[in-house]
């Protein structure tokens, strides 16, 4: 299994407080890693740095055997668009757009201009995530679970190598949580790498590898 993304000795401090104290992590093809820990332990901060949304105070992120230059905003945007898909606790769907259009926008950014290809990819994702018939609905016309599945479809739009999910079931009831978790498991079964932040152990236990963070360090 080849390493897709690696974090080396990542440290992050905000003001006086140290959030991450030198974390190293490798994500390979087909991995499903869950990161657990108490609130404020640094789980989300680590995901933001690995997802190139934030920069570390020291240490680095290696993608495709190259250390990422955090000063190159253009490059960071490009990698996020092509290689990483994000799912958050809140769905962050654009309320003015339909489910279909929300899934479309990462592809448009990626420069996919073939109308038929765009349409096909969107409908494939809609179907695979059980959203058929709801593609023309606005986010407020969907249930919480459906909204989160649209967000997952958007994360998968550009066929990224890795999906990063920050508490993806945090806002869902148990039924919808299970449904969303099943989606991630299915994605992983098909070979996609998943990094999931959660504080619910029963969900973490379903993943291939569980890392616990405490005081900015991986403790187990």
């Amino acid at each position: 299994m080849s390493v897709i993304l690696e974090g080396r000795d990542i440290r992050k401090s905000i003001g006086e407080s140290e959030i991450l104290n030198g974390i190293s992590i490798q994500i390979s093809t087909g991995d499903f890693i869950s990161i657990v820990g108490a609130s404020g332990s640094g789980k989300s901060s680590l995901m933001y740095i690995l997802g190139l949304l934030d920069s570390p105070t020291s240490g680095g992120v290696i993608i495709d055997d190259k250390e990422v230059d955090f000063g190159d905003a253009k490059l960071l945007s490009k990698i996020r668009n092509k290689k990483i898909g994000f799912v958050f606790q809140f769905h962050y769907l654009i309320t003015e757009l339909t489910a279909y259009e929300n899934i479309l926008i990462p592809m448009l950014k990626n420069g996919v201009n073939d109308r038929e290809r765009l349409k096909q990819r969107c409908y494939d994702l809609i179907e695979s995530l059980g959203l058929k018939g709801k593609e023309k609905r606005k986010p407020y016309q969907l249930s919480g679970g459906e909204q989160q599945r649209v967000a997952i479809a958007r994360a998968l739009a550009n066929d990224p190598e890795i999906v990063m999910a920050d508490e993806p079931t945090g806002n869902l009831d148990s039924k919808n949580s299970a449904m969303v978790m099943d989606v991630f498991l299915e994605l992983n079964e098909k070979g996609r790498s998943v990094l999931m932040i959660t504080h619910e152990m029963y969900l973490a236990e379903k993943t291939k590898k569980v890392l616990e963070i405490k005081d900015g360090l991986i403790v187990s």
């Binding site: 949304l53 994000f86 990462p106």
Partner: protein
């Protein structure tokens, strides 16, 4: 680019009410600009064209100067004049000496279109029991036609009659009206400053639309007026028509230097009006710009509100790979779209306003006479209105858009959990 346009268009069209309000603001601003520019400039251009063309681009005349004999330069310096109480004005030598030489000379100069001699004087005109003072202008129609457009304002086109019948005159329309003359053919009595009485026939009317001229002018044959004023072979003005009216001021200085007489350009002759027009333009454009600025603030407000409301969307757009510049362009494009639709709508509204204003019929009697608004309906006001709207829309949307691009997505993800 396609994705930017797509998102911007969607964000704007899904917020119809806000978009409509800001679009209408721009449209009203542009329409006001077009209508007001059209009315103000229409009036000014009409006045300048009439006044300048009828009078002259340059008038060469005798300047009233201080009597050189009364300047006490030996005692106090050149600009000190002794004003002796009870003294009478010195008799002015009211003639241009050697004017035929200047006629020949400037006629050949290709900077000028034409030059014509004038003899002007004052007289009292009587018709029946009515009498009015008038400004008499003696002209040579053949030369006059080349130096001014007086012919265009002779109602029946009988300018040449003052050549064939030397006792005929062409009277200002309002002067004739004040005297009670309604049709040509009437005979009037003219009393010269020296007391001479002459009977002359009104053969046509002069109707320029400029009240002050139509109320006072009487055109007649130059020879006739020279006889009436007892100034044989004399003229006291030369009027000159130049090729480029904007060069009149410069050419006037050249002519003045060349002849030694006072050459007055149309800009100087109408400087009072031009100053008023300048002020009028300032006030008008300040008002219109105030409207446009208000509409720009409308766009600014709505864009600022949108950015604040759309923080989460901006954060996710950044997370999925949209760059700062692209976020800026998404919001600037919305502002420009509002500007574009507003400007186009404003142009249409402006056009309809112009059509409506042009259709209004009422008498205007002021420094010009007209039976409705005199509009300048050149496309330039539409083009300028459009450009102003787009520039204002750009600047109004740029700051909120820039603010949007500066948002740090992680802060928003953390705060919205």
């Amino acid at each position: 680019m396609r994705s930017i346009l797509f998102i911007a268009f969607k964000l704007l069209t899904e917020r119809k009410r806000q978009a409509l309000v800001s679009t209408m603001g721009v449209a009203i601003g542009v329409a006001a600009f077009i209508a007001m520019s059209s009315v103000m400039n229409g009036f000014q251009i009409y006045f300048i064209k009439q006044a300048v063309d009828i009078n002259a681009h340059i008038t060469l005349k005798i300047e009233e100067t201080d009597d050189p004999d009364r300047i006490l330069k030996a005692v106090y310096g050149e600009n000190i004049v002794a004003d002796v109480l009870g003294s009478k004005p010195k008799d002015l030598k009211d003639k241009i000496i050697g004017y035929k030489h200047y006629l020949d000379k400037y006629e050949k100069d290709d900077r000028f279109i034409g030059i014509a001699p004038h003899l002007t004087g004052q007289a009292i005109v009587n018709y029946g029991t009515k009498e009015k003072s008038a400004t008499l202008i003696g002209i040579e129609p053949a030369l006059e036609r080349r130096a001014s457009v007086v012919d265009d304002y002779i109602e029946l086109g009988n300018l040449d009659k003052i050549v064939t019948d030397r006792n005929s005159i062409i009277m200002g329309k309002l002067l004739a009206r004040d005297l009670g003359i309604k049709e040509p053919g009437k005979k009037v009595t003219l009393v010269s400053p020296s007391g001479g009485i002459y009977t002359l026939k009104v053969v046509d009317f002069f109707n320029s639309g400029i009240t002050s001229l139509d109320q006072s002018r009487v055109y007649m044959n130059l020879r006739t007026l020279q006889a009436i004023l007892d100034k044989p072979n004399q003229v006291n003005e030369l009027i000159i028509r130049v090729k480029d009216v904007n060069q009149a001021e410069t050419l006037a200085a050249v002519i003045s230097e060349d002849t030694g007489y006072y050459a007055e350009s149309w800009q100087r002759a109408f400087s009072n009006f031009l100053q008023i027009f300048k002020m009028q333009n300032w006030i008008t454009y300040m008002m219109v710009f105030a409207i446009l600025i208000v509409s720009a603030f409308g766009i600014f407000n709505i864009m600022m509100m949108t950015v604040l409301e759309k923080k989460r969307d901006i954060a996710i757009l950044k997370a999925i790979g949209y760059e700062d510049g692209e976020i800026t362009r998404i919001f600037v494009f919305q502002g420009l779209l509002v500007g574009l639709i507003g400007a186009l709508l404003g142009c249409l509204l402006g056009y309809l306003l112009e059509v409506w204003l042009a259709s209004l019929r009422f008498d205007i009697v002021g420094i010009i006479r007209s039976s409705g608004f005199v509009l300048d309906r050149r496309p330039r006001y539409f083009v300028l209105g459009f450009i102003f709207a787009m520039v204002f829309a750009f600047f109004a949307s740029f700051y909120p858009s820039w603010r949007a691009s500066r948002l740090f997505p992680v802060d928003i993800f953390r705060s919205s959990v």
